[in-house]
């Protein structure tokens, strides 16, 4: 076997050393495109996932979110929950929120929204809400009868034309909010927020005390307690620690909560991704096979000669396996260079999605490793099968065609 490997390597290396360089370059170029095809689209989809999951963490769910158990609408005594949560090692900040359904009315334009009651000063540590005010100011600790309106419902942001909106609400405008319990209240618009994300821009924010008063809630109730942690990736450990700390409500990580939503959002893209990968693999395998097969057909006589002078079929098959592995390795290196160049380009010039969202592709090392392994496996199969088939032919047929 060692002799087979040595001779296989000698045949392959001389073929590379003295073979046609233009053909080699063409083969490598095609293989690099096959590799690119395998990794580029998934990287873009990865970028979209990161963007959406980032939204989930920055706005509704934080890193870990605590919600009421069973059919309960509220977490009772959220302050006690907060105290326990804040004492957990690895928790950076936590706050309580009250989400309620309402409709907002402005100059006979009515829009249904979720109004979130929050503690403004705590939100600076928890979410991006305080930082996305495009007009006016964020809520303050003493904000009463004041509201922050999402840009899409205000009629000023991108997407306003798609959704119902209030028709050019500005800072200082007065809007009427009718809560789900029928209570109606007039608010002065303190700011317009634009998070370039529907879950944000179609909602409104008020002070926590507003919701407490409107719904007559006592004993620090909350629909959710949002938690941020020190170290990304430790969400599940913190989730366990919070449970161990005696919090009996439902504790989710942002991934748990986002899963359904992101899954839905990504489902169609994921299907395209899978299809694209499948097609790329089939096309890639076929191309590698064709390239190597044509190469082998051109060398059919040579294979016959090698057999005639006593070179074993195993050495011949190995030489083509080495050769195709070499081609594919060069293709992968060229493909990687091309891929990384494109990645850097798109990092600097992100793809703008939905006019406002910037998608930057994500370089996923696992994806790269998987694709490299797939390509190398394909190369061994594609190099071995045709060579094996030709090496099984009789010497006379291989050399003289009969």
């Amino acid at each position: 076997m060692i002799n087979d490997i040595r001779v296989g390597a000698l045949i392959a290396s001389s073929s590379v050393k003295r073979g046609n360089k233009k053909t080699l370059m063409f083969i490598v170029f095609v293989l690099s495109l096959i590799f690119m095809n395998l990794v580029f689209l998934p990287s873009m989809i990865g970028g979209m996932t990161v963007l959406f999951t980032g939204f989930m963490q920055d706005y509704p769910y934080g890193d870990v979110v605590i919600e009421p158990t069973g059919d309960n609408t509220y977490i009772n005594n959220a302050d006690s929950v907060l105290k326990k949560v804040r004492a957990v090692e690895g928790v950076r900040a936590a706050t309580k929120r009250l989400d309620v359904g309402a409709s907002i009315d402005h100059k006979q334009n009515v829009v249904g929204v979720t109004v979130t009651g929050m503690l403004p000063t705590e939100e600076y540590e928890i979410s991006q809400y305080p930082y996305i005010i495009t007009d006016g100011d964020f809520l303050g600790e003493l904000s009463r009868d004041e509201i922050i309106i999402g840009a899409m419902i205000a009629g000023t942001g991108f997407g306003s034309e798609i959704y119902d909106n209030l028709g050019e609400v500005k800072v200082g405008s007065l809007v009427d909010v009718t809560y789900s319990n029928g209570v109606k209240k007039t608010y002065k618009v303190k700011g317009i927020m634009e998070g370039t994300f529907e879950l944000v821009d179609l909602n409104a924010l008020v002070h926590y005390k507003e919701i407490e008063e409107v719904y007559g809630l006592e004993g620090s109730k909350a629909t959710s307690v949002v938690v941020r942690i020190d170290k990304q990736g430790t969400e599940e450990q913190i989730q366990d620690k919070i449970r161990e700390a005696g919090v009996n409500e439902q504790v989710f990580t942002w991934a748990d909560k986002s899963e359904t939503l992101i899954k839905q959002a990504m489902q169609s893209m994921g299907a395209i991704d899978i299809m694209s990968k499948f097609v790329s693999l089939i096309v890639g395998a076929a191309l590698i096979l064709i390239i190597i097969y044509i190469n082998i057909l051109n060398k059919k006589k040579e294979i016959g000669i090698l057999k005639a002078i006593g070179i074993t079929p195993r050495s011949i098959v190995l030489s083509y396996a080495f050769l195709s592995t070499f081609y594919v390795s060069l293709g992968i290196i060229a493909g990687l260079a091309l891929y990384l160049s494109l990645m850097f380009y798109f990092q600097a010039n992100p793809v703008v999605f939905y006019e406002t969202m910037e998608i930057r592709p994500v370089i996923d090392p696992m994806l790269l490793i998987q694709s490299i392994i797939t390509m190398l496996t394909l190369s061994v199969i594609a190099g071995t099968l045709p060579a094996w088939s030709v090496s099984k032919e009789s010497i006379l047929k291989a050399i003289w065609g009969r």
């Binding site: 002799n3 040595r6 045949i11 006593g310």
Partner: protein, 232 residues
Amino acid sequence: MIVVKDLKRYYGSGQTAVKALNGVSFEIKKGEFVAIMGASGSGKTTLLRILALLDDATAGEYTIRGLKVSSLPEAERSYYRLTQVGYVFQDYALINEMSAAENVYVLSMMEGRSKKESYKTALEALEKVGLKGKQDRIPDELSGGEKQRVAIARAIAKKPDIMFADEPCANLDTNNSKQVLDVFKDLNDNYGQTIVMVTHELWHTEYVDRVITLEDGVLVSDEMMDEGGEEK
């Protein structure tokens, strides 16, 4: 050394079968330089390919040093071709992407020798055929005669029991043909190499000890030659 008994090779079957060889028998002794001659289609190349284990006989027996090689399985035939048999093709059959030395030492490496030792053997073989200093040339950089001499070097480097040559001068001019035949003669005279060569050129008989003539797949004459290529 070589014993051939009633060797037959038919292509096709029944009434339409082509009888390329139809019951050929002869013996070749060690150290002989034999020419197989005959008109085109007489079966000489078919016979040589069967002797060199490149093709199978339809019937008959063929032994080399008492070993019935005609019935060996392919793996052993391959090993036999590698270690015991040298074959020189009409069209040189060199690997174009390998240098002269690589074309020669690939077989030594296949036999398990180190690259260094194989290279040394290749240089000796190339020197023996008059190609000293041309070991790094690829076939495209060599003349027809030089290519054929590389092919001979490849065949002799492994010191085979028998060397077969299928019209080795067919593509060469007279001058190059003489050079190649001189190499054969030298190998035969000075190293005792057994050589079986197919040829259709009468003047090649000057170099050989014996001429076997085929006609329509049948052996029609088997004559020993003197130094001048005349029948003894």
